[in-house]
């Protein structure tokens, strides 16, 4: 971290005390980006002028106003599928290359009100469809830990921006692992909140019943602070539950004595690489030493999770992406007839992976196939939810790897969509169940970070953070 602070709390205190200013902090962020992002390509757009102007405005506020801002002067990055008023929001797609939203997402308003300064919009897989950032229309992102590898995805730009020390925090979005997996690969902390904890208003929809915005940060405390800023009621999102998160000191006591941690046996079977298995097994020992109770649980529906997930998410995507038709905004291929306008706009405006998913989703919703695919997947989803409920009967949270391997090489899986889909195997279940998941670094294989995932019952982000904080205190691997 190039910043002279190790947590957001510390950074905000330094600004409030006058040791530094919002402007100096933001300028430092921008200098780091200018120096490093040519190689990493974590950002699709950076608006330095606007960010510095905003920082100066914050510096001019009264002490009382500053005291009310939990993210005062913090440079943050926002994934480019979250709408920012007057600032390009592309979803890493040619379709929205020049799209400038006339409104802010609710989370962006929350960041503003908390005193955060948005320095730029981060790179991602096109429309959040991918696990490596390689489907971005603007070119992929490199993993700051090893620039020959992908950062994971789809929030790869946000994870890389935090890992590279470009920003103090970032927002990502998670549909089936898109926050947790890149955080695991980049060695940073990512939290996917309970579905409905954070407003989705202004998040460009990929799969509405799964999408959730969450923080990507360098430490567990910052995850809690970010979550308390972006969570809560929003009258503009009917699926937002209106349950704000409040971090309590109890979470950061590093006391996990008696905490019951379930290890689902299905998550440690074949397909899990040794490079990931070893640090996680070592972690279980160390957590047991700290007084946690580790027990084996079973989540037998794991084997259906990938199939159910890719049916649900492609079905919803095929409908959510129908609005990109060249009629009102976004890319338009000039054509004489309406059918040609639709066909050519979508043929040229979308990349291969997006088109693949639209085709799949259209197919599974088609007359005669709906029952066999969509409806079946919806039933599997209920079974998965029941599985978790059963498991949480005997444990407080569940621990698993984030992904089967460490960050993979750029180009390694990009020609094999099925291999790519399988990298989501450990993360999609929590998404389907709508429960929160936290990805925390827990070791490394050489330079490559390994992440551990914790999953908790709905609205129990406090338990997740408590466990995550304990892992962090163990000092990695």
């Amino acid at each position: 971290m190039p910043f002279p602070f190790s947590t957001i709390d510390e950074g905000v205190q330094q600004i409030r005390s006058g040791a530094t200013t919002c402007r100096a902090t933001v300028e430092q962020s921008i200098e780091t980006i200018n120096a490093g992002d040519g190689l990493i390509h974590a950002f699709i757009s950076v608006d330095a002028g606007r960010a510095i102007e905003r920082a100066a405005e914050l510096d001019a506020l009264s002490q009382a106003e500053k005291a009310r801002m939990p993210l005062l002067g913090m440079p943050v990055a926002v994934k480019d599928n979250i709408c920012t008023r007057g600032q390009r929001t592309t979803c890493a797609s040619k379709m929205l290359e020049h799209f400038v939203p006339p409104y802010d997402a609710t989370v962006v308003e929350s960041l503003h009100n908390a005193g955060a300064v948005i320095v730029g919009k981060t790179n991602m897989d096109e429309f959040a469809m991918g696990s490596s950032n390689e489907t971005s229309y603007f070119g992929g992102t490199r993993n700051p830990r090893d620039v020959t590898r992908t950062p994971g995805g789809s929030s790869g730009g946000s994870a890389a921006a935090v890992a590279a020390g470009f920003v103090a925090a970032a927002l990502g979005s998670d549909t089936g692992g898109s926050i947790r997996q890149p955080c695991g690969h980049c060695g940073v902390v990512g939290l996917t909140p309970t579905y409905g904890m954070v407003s989705r208003y202004g998040l460009v929809a990929f799969a509405s019943s799964l999408d959730q915005i969450g923080p990507i940060v360098s430490n567990v405390r910052d995850a809690g602070r970010m979550l308390s800023v972006i969570s809560g009621a929003d009258a503009r999102d009917a699926t937002c539950a209106g349950k704000p998160f409040t971090a309590t000191d109890d979470i950061y006591k590093n006391d996990i004595a008696g905490l019951r941690i379930g290890l689902p046996r299905e998550y440690f079977g074949g397909g899990l690489s040794d490079e990931v298995r070893r640090p996680i097994e070592k972690l279980t020992e160390r957590l047991r030493d700290r007084g946690a109770v580790l027990l084996e649980v079973s989540l037998p529906t794991l084997r259906y999770a990938i199939a159910a997930y890719y049916i649900m998410c492609t079905a919803e995507a095929s409908s959510n992406l129908a609005r990109y038709d060249g009629v009102r905004y976004g890319f338009r291929s000039p054509q004489r007839s309406l059918p040609e306008l639709y066909r050519e706009t979508r043929r040229q405006g979308f990349g291969a992976e997006v088109k693949r998913r639209i085709m799949l989703g259209t197919y599974v919703l088609s007359h005669g196939y709906y029952d066999a695919y969509y409806l079946k997947a919806a039933k599997v989803r209920t079974l998965i939810r029941n599985d978790f409920n059963d498991a949480f009967g005997s444990c407080d949270l569940i621990m698993s790897p984030v992904a089967p391997t460490c960050a993979f090489k750029i180009g390694e899986k990009s020609d094999d969509p099925l291999q790519m889909y399988l990298t989501d195997i450990y993360t999609v279940s929590a998404s389907l169940a709508g429960i929160p998941g936290l990805s925390v670094p827990c070791g490394a294989a050489g330079v490559l970070p390994v992440g551990v995932q914790f999953m908790a019952p709905q609205w129990r982000e406090d338990v997740l953070l408590k466990a995550g904080y304990a892992v962090e205190c163990l000092g990695g691997g």
């Binding site: 208003y201 503009r236 009629v327």
Partner: protein, 474 residues
């Protein structure tokens, strides 16, 4: 072979909410194009729908009015199709779990009451409007995007175009009574699609059906169905088969034009709308809304017949529109004879409304003025005949009857002296007829009356004239 016609209707009614179904934009017909739009109804990336509970309340009231069950839990669904007037590429509607379930509506055709089943009522959003007057370009108006509609679906219980018309008029009357739709088909605030099939009488199975759309008047629905029934019968009589097809009704040519066949039918790929949680309605809410229902057309018709002594036909016509029935009752507050008032409204007021192609709201004649006019007939100031002219002038000039009578000098001539002179001159001008009358042709009396009325330009009191004639011809 004798055929039976089977018809089912789908009626779309635009709800009179202040704002749209899923956003805060104003929902109003006739505002300047593209003045009521926002990220939600424009389908911008990231915008989300939030349900307008007032629209839900209106739909529930309609459900209560026609005896529907109201679901405690219903679902929204996405109906997916591409069209430039549909910004999101899907319409938010309800599909297999609608807000209201089975209900029924009694209709009266040929003085017989028949109960027609209603399959259900669901809520959905309207699409925008395309304007094609600048070919080859088309313009898009977002104002209508997302305005709330209810779709009322009938069972295939209707057996003739006349029954379909009666059902449609019956639904319209209720929508107006409970004040949730202004029911102007010409403006599209009420729309009707029809499914029609024929089968040989006695057959239980339904025949292949066709659908007709775009009928933008109440009578148009009846006409289109008559046309389609005839067409199908002709095909069947010639040994042909009916193909599942959708037609557009061409009002100016009075015929239907094929729009698409079954092969081109859309696959709407319905699935549950993930942006909206299930819609829950508790029984207390339904009970409270049920209490807000006014007297409905059928009850009012009964009251008009039983308590006011109106004939069934008059009661039916008057109660078919809440405003007409209100006009009737308001007039009755100023004038005592219900049958007289009913007669004047059914004959003359409706004639004016139809001739001028206006709505009852645009009527200049007030109930008070109509009552005053009827009193002026009763006290002999004017004849019923001149009253007909006066009522037209009341509409034309927006004046009360006394002012018009004065200005037009239409006061009935009851003064015997003046009438005597007129009658005398009539007799003098027609000596041949006088002779025939005296020879026993008694029918000629009406000829003389007519001549005398003509001479008074309609303002003579026929009773007085009659009396004078009998005296002078004796």
């Amino acid at each position: 072979m004798d055929f039976e016609t089977v018809i089912g209707l789908e009626i779309h009614a635009q709800l009179l909410t202040e704002t749209k179904l899923f956003c805060g934009c104003r929902s109003r017909f006739g505002d300047p194009a593209n003045t009521n739009g926002c990220p939600v109804c424009l389908g911008l990336p990231g915008a989300l729908p939030v349900l307008n509970r007032r629209a839900v309340a209106m739909a529930i009231r309609m459900g209560c009015a026609i005896g529907c069950t109201v679901a405690g839990r219903s679902l929204f669904a996405r109906k997916n199709y591409f069209y430039p007037d549909l910004p999101k590429g899907y319409q938010i509607s309800q599909y297999d779990a609608p807000l209201c379930g089975k209900g029924e509506l009694p209709i009266v055709v040929d003085n017989t009451v028949k109960t027609v089943g209603v399959t259900g009522i669901h809520l959905e959003e309207d699409a925008g409007k395309l304007i094609h007057d600048r070919a080859p370009e088309s313009l898009f108006d977002v104002n209508r995007c997302g305005t709330p509609l209810i779709e009322i679906v009938s069972e295939p219980d209707l057996r003739s175009p006349a029954e379909a018309y009666a059902f449609l008029i019956g639904i319209k009357a209720i929508l107006e009574y409970i004040e949730i739709c202004d029911c102007i088909m010409e403006e599209g605030s009420l729309r009707c699609d029809a499914n029609i099939s024929l089968r040989s009488r006695g057959e239980k199975k339904l025949g292949a059906k066709t659908e007709i759309k775009n009928m933008n008047s109440f009578r148009g629905v009846e006409k289109a169905l008559e046309y389609e029934a005839r067409r199908q019968e002709e095909v069947l009589r010639n040994g042909g088969k009916i193909h599942q097809e959708t037609f557009l009704w061409d009002r100016s040519a009075n015929r239907s034009i094929p729009m698409r066949s079954k092969e081109d039918a859309h696959d709407y790929r319905y699935f549950p709308e993930p942006d909206l949680p299930p819609l829950t309605v508790n029984p207390e809410e339904v009970a409270a809304l049920r209490k807000t229902l006014p007297e409905l057309p059928a009850q009012r018709r009964q009251r008009f017949i039983e308590q006011m002594g109106l004939q069934e036909n008059a009661a039916e016509v008057l109660t078919s529109s809440r405003k007409l029935a209100d006009f009737f009752e308001a007039t009755l507050a100023t004038y005592h004879d219900a049958r007289q008032v009913a007669n004047w409204i059914v004959v003359d007021i409706l004639r004016i409304i139809n001739d001028l192609k206006i709505t009852i709201d645009q009527l200049e004649i007030t109930p008070g003025h109509l009552g005053a006019l009827l009193k002026l007939i009763d006290n002999g100031t004017i004849s019923a005949r001149s009253a007909r002219k006066i009522v037209d002038l009341m509409q034309e000039r927006d004046q009360d009857p006394e002012t018009i009578i004065k200005a037009e000098k239409m006061q009935q001539v009851s003064d015997s002296g003046a009438l005597e002179n007129i009658v005398q001159s009539v007799l003098a001008k027609n000596p041949v007829e006088v002779e025939r009358f005296k020879a026993g042709d008694g029918k000629l009396i009406s000829f003389f009356v007519g001549q005398a009325m003509k001479a008074t330009m309609g303002s003579g009191n026929p009773k007085e004239i009659n009396a004078l004639l009998s005296k002078m011809l004796r």
